[in-house]
């Protein structure tokens, strides 16, 4: 279905059989938008996809955060949302001396984690599964968190394309932080350029094709063949 831009308070559609989805409200049989974004209809469910705004954490999100502070039973992590997240000491799979917690995570160090729960007390992070933990190499940069679905693409198609083209390992946090590790800094910066291109052109239809074209035009200098680095992890 065609998407259209809506502003808060705008009537998206009228009809008793329509259902209000995310960021919408139903009043007197009219579906009204509550946010600035793109309205979309799916099986008579109307929702608005926000285009702007700060990151709002959800359970299950993979995020990249920065250690803000140490407490006696864990770490406070800044994940770019209004509330800071908490990483419990229990999440570290080995024994940690409480006097030497800095051996695991120091202030200002970066990590990739999953949001395990969101409650009244706050946001709890988990690093127990594979792929989560401290970020020690590569580059991390910020993008608009609302553009993250564009970077990932349909079923990961876009991110796979960029990974294949650059030979970098890329992790995208739902909070708008992107972590790139590649063989050289130049390749990492090239991958960053590709991702910036995606965020800038995020409204184009057939974006994946457009990105393929972009890679054709901007061949990276000194990138080794793809296959050699493809299965680094």
């Amino acid at each position: 279905m065609d998407r259209k831009v809506v502003i808060p308070g705008e009537i998206i559609a009228e009809g008793e059989d329509l259902l209000p989805g995310e960021h919408t409200q139903k009043t007197d049989g009219k579906i009204v938008s509550l946010r600035y974004g793109l309205a979309e209809e799916q099986n008579s469910l109307i929702k608005v996809i926000p285009l702007s705004g700060v990151y709002s954490p959800r359970r299950g999100n993979v995020v990249i955060g920065k250690i803000e502070n140490l407490t006696n039973n864990g770490w406070i992590v800044d994940i770019g949302s209004a509330d800071s997240a908490f990483l419990s000491l229990m999440e570290v799979p080995r024994y940690v001396n409480k006097d030497a917690m800095e051996e695991v995570f120091k202030i200002d160090e970066l990590l990739i984690a999953k949001i395990w729960s969101i409650g009244k007390r706050g946001i709890d992070l988990s690093i127990k599964s594979r792929g989560y933990g401290k970020i020690e190499d590569g580059i991390v940069f910020e993008v608009n968190p609302n553009k993250v679905p564009r970077i990932i693409g349909k079923e990961g198609s876009m991110i796979k394309l960029i990974k294949d083209e650059t030979g970098c390992e890329i992790d995208v946090g739902q909070n708008g932080y992107v972590w790139i590790t590649g063989p050289t800094t130049d390749v990492e910066l090239f991958a960053k350029k590709a991702i910036t291109f995606v965020t800038e052109k995020s409204f184009i239809h057939g974006l994946t094709d457009e990105v393929t074209k972009w890679f054709g035009k901007n061949a990276p200098r000194g990138v080794p063949p793809n296959n050699e680095l493809g299965d680094k992890k």
Binding site: I7, P8, Y36, L51, A82
Partner: protein, 237 residues
């Protein structure tokens, strides 16, 4: 009403000054907008929702809206001292009252949304321009809102009601003199803010509100267009 009234700049009584609106003028902010009405230019920037600081001001039941209106020192011909003064504090509070009813703040407990409004150039109607810019900036920042807010000032010069006063008209000194009525309302027509500086009869006040409604309708369309146009622009890039 009475005989034909002539405005100094030749506008019709219900005619607004030429309006220009733009969204996304402050890239660093979470949302921003510019609203220009004649010679009056307002810029609004929104930051947040973010954690409220100082902590004792946190409200655990709903989020807080904080507005800060200020006129830039060169916005008027006699340089004004920058910073807070009685007038700026009043308008900051008025702006907050005008915008708060449409915001859904209960989703953001212990958090704050900061709205900064700067008047770059002033030629009367700055609070209205500020509210219009702030409403666009809030929408642009992705804050959940029930409706948009549009604002206009209605004036009574002698016995005639006119829309969108300029400074020259505000200083009108014939007959009954000038009366200034800034009105803010939602698109649904609910008044969120109204002030009155001067004197006016009840019957004529109702007339003024109706005129404000018609003008706000026009402003709403401009705000809507400005918000929608930024997306199209990005598409063409």
């Amino acid at each position: 009403m009475t005989a034909k009234f002539e405005r100094p700049d030749g506008r019709k009584i219900e005619e607004m000054r030429p309006v220009e609106a733009k969204v996304g003028v402050v890239p660093n902010a979470d949302g921003s907008a510019m609203y220009k009405s004649g010679k009056t230019i307002a810029i609004a920037a929104v930051y947040g929702p973010k954690k409220m600081h100082p902590q004792h001001q946190q409200n655990p039941s709903k989020g807080t809206l904080r507005c800060d209106y200020s006129m830039i020192s060169f916005s008027v011909s006699d340089r004004i001292r920058p910073g807070r003064n009685r007038r700026a504090m009043e308008i900051s509070e008025i702006t907050k009252w005008a915008l708060e009813p449409v915001l859904l703040l209960d989703k953001y407990p212990n958090q704050v949304i900061d709205v900064f409004i700067n008047i770059i150039q002033a030629d009367a109607g700055t609070r209205c321009a500020g509210i219009n810019a702030a409403a666009m900036a809030l929408a642009h920042a992705g804050i959940p809102m029930k409706d948009m807010v549009s604002s206009v000032s209605i004036g009574k010069l002698d016995k005639t009601l006119v829309v969108d006063l300029t400074k020259e008209e505000e200083d009108y000194h014939e007959g009954e003199g000038p009366t200034d009525i800034p009105i803010s309302m939602t698109h649904a027509g609910k008044v969120t803010h109204m002030q009155l500086d001067g004197k006016i009869g009840v019957k004529q006040l109702q007339e003024a509100v109706d005129m404000g409604k018609a003008a706000c309708e026009k402003i709403y369309e401009i705000q809507k267009k400005a918000l929608k146009d930024t997306i199209d622009m990005e598409e063409k890039k």
